[in-house]
Symmetry: C2
Subunit: 271 residues, 2 copies
C-alpha cells in the first residue's frame, strides 16, 4: 500500500469502482463490490476473486492481515481518503475497506449435482436485504446451493452482499436461472421440490422432510405465482399456530430450511 492516497472522487479508478453500484455496469464488468472486513475476508479466501482492494489508512492498519493477504495474492491495494471511501461505500457508516470482486456464481449444472441434499431457490424475491438474509440462512442450514431465478433480485446488489454476511462466497450461487429449468434440474438430481407458500394445503408438520429437498421461496408480498406452484412436487405452508397472519419471507425461509436440515440429520426418537 505504498504510494499516494486516492483523494479525488472523480479519478478514473474511483469512478470505475463506483459504477459497480449499478447492475448494468456489474453485468458488463462481471464484477461487484464487497464492503466491510467480513466480506473482504471471505472474498480473499477464494482464489482470484478480489481484483482490487480499497482501504482507508485507518482501516488498513486495523485490518493489516487483510491488506497483507491481498498483497501476497498480487491484488492491487489502494489507500483511499475517507471521502473516496464514502463515495464507494453504500453504507451510512462505511467500515473503511472494500473489495472489487469478480462474479462468483456458477452454472446450474455445476451447483446442483446428485450429491445435493438441500437447495434454496429464490423466485420473485425483490428485496435485496431479504435475499441476502435467505442466502446467509441457507448457508447456515448447510444448503448445497442457492439459486436466484431470473425474476429475482441481483445477488450482487450491495444490500444483498451485505445481508449475506459473507455467505455469497461460501456456497455455490446460481443467478438468472429460468425457474422451470431450475426445477427440472433439481428434480433430475433427485431432490423433492417444495414450494413454500401460504396456499399450501399441507404444513411443514405434515410432510416427510427426511429426504433431499429443494425449497422455492416467493415474493415478499404476494408469494408464488400459480405456474410455479404447479411446477413443485408439493406446496407447503409454514403452520401459523397463533394469531399472526403470516411470517416475513426471510423468517419463513429459515423455518423451512432448518426443518429440512434438522429432519435430514436428527434420528427421530421413538414415539
Amino acid at each position: 500500500m505504498a504510494g499516494s492516497e486516492l483523494t479525488n472522487t472523480k479519478s478514473p479508478r474511483v469512478k470505475a469502482a463506483k459504477r459497480l453500484t449499478k447492475r448494468a455496469f456489474r453485468d458488463r464488468d462481471r464484477s461487484f463490490l464487497a464492503e466491510g472486513p467480513q466480506a473482504v475476508r471471505e472474498a480473499l479466501a477464494l482464489d482470484g476473486v478480489v481484483t482490487e482492494l480499497f482501504t482507508t489508512a485507518e482501516a488498513g492498519t486495523r485490518h493489516a492481515d487483510l491488506v497483507a493477504t491481498a498483497v501476497s495474492a498480487g491484488v492491487p491495494v489502494h489507500r483511499a481518503s475517507g471521502e473516496v471511501m464514502a463515495e464507494l461505500a453504500q453504507t451510512v457508516t462505511p467500515q473503511g475497506i472494500l473489495a472489487v470482486c469478480r462474479f462468483v456464481h456458477v452454472s446450474l449444472e455445476s451447483a446442483v449435482t446428485e450429491q445435493a441434499r438441500l437447495v434454496a431457490v429464490l423466485a420473485h424475491v425483490r428485496d435485496p436485504g431479504n435475499a441476502g438474509t435467505v442466502l446467509r440462512t441457507a448457508d447456515a442450514a448447510g444448503a448445497d446451493a442457492v439459486v436466484f431465478t431470473d425474476a429475482s433480485v441481483d445477488p450482487y446488489n450491495g444490500k444483498c452482499v451485505r445481508a449475506s454476511a459473507g455467505s455469497l462466497f461460501h456456497l455455490p450461487v446460481v443467478t438468472g436461472a429460468p425457474v422451470a429449468q431450475a426445477v427440472d434440474r433439481l428434480r433430475g438430481v433427485g431432490l423433492r421440490v417444495f414450494a413454500a407458500d401460504g396456499a399450501g394445503t399441507r404444513t411443514l408438520d405434515d410432510v416427510d422432510l427426511s429426504g433431499p429437498a429443494a425449497w422455492i421461496f416467493g415474493n415478499e408480498a404476494w408469494g408464488l405465482p400459480e405456474e410455479i406452484l404447479g411446477l413443485a412436487d408439493e406446496v407447503v405452508r409454514v403452520p401459523i399456530y397463533g394469531g399472526a397472519e403470516s411470517l416475513n419471507l426471510a423468517t419463513a425461509a429459515a423455518v423451512c430450511l432448518y426443518a429440512s436440515a434438522r429432519s435430514q440429520r436428527v434420528r427421530p426418537l421413538s414415539g
Copy 2:
C-alpha cells in the same frame, strides 16, 4: 368523520399525537401510535385500546370499514391532510391511517401462567425492527407471551410496532421486566428456560424440546451476557451446518421458536 380537516401540523391535537413518537412522552401518556390499516384493524379489535384515529380523506374511503368500526366504538376520528399525516407517520410512504392506542402490555404474572407452553424473552435486543419481527414470529409460533426485559428496546417504538405486523395486539406482551425476575416466574410456572446463544455447548438438535419452554434471545451483536447465561437451565445454540458464522437474531429466534412449537406438537415417527 364530519367536520373540518386537520391541516395545521402545529395544532395542539397533532402535536399531542406527534410527541408519542418519543419514548418519554409515550411513557407519560401511556399511549403510542399504530400506523397503517393492518395495525389499526388489530388495535380496533381490542376493546378500549384505540383512543383516536387519524385518516386522510383518501385512506378513510379505502378503509371505510375501519372508520365505521371506530365510530361505532365511540373513538374520535379526525380527517387529516396529507401534510398532517406525513407529520405523524414515521414511514416514508405513509398509508394514510394511524391510531393513538393505549398501552397494551400486561404484568409478568398475568402473561406467564401455568398454562404457558412457549414464551419468548427479549433481553438486550436493541433494534426495534428485530424486536418486532421476533414478536411476529413468536405469535406465529403460537407463543403464549413475549417478555421484553428492562434492557431491551421499547415495544411501542414505531418500528417495532410496524415490524410486529399486528402481533403486538395478539398476545400478552410484558415490558420492562428485570431478567432475573422474569426467569424466576418462567421457571416457577414449569417452563424450561433456554438461553439461545452461540456459547451453548449443546445445539437445538441435542436437546429435548417436547416440553413447555421459554427462550431468551440476546443482543444482535454480542448475544447474551454471562449473568443471563447463568440464569438459564440450558444454553443452546442453533447448529450451523454450513459455512456461515452465525444467523441474524430474528432468524435464530424463528428457528428456536418453531423447533419448540413443532416438537411440542408433532408426534415423532418411530426411528
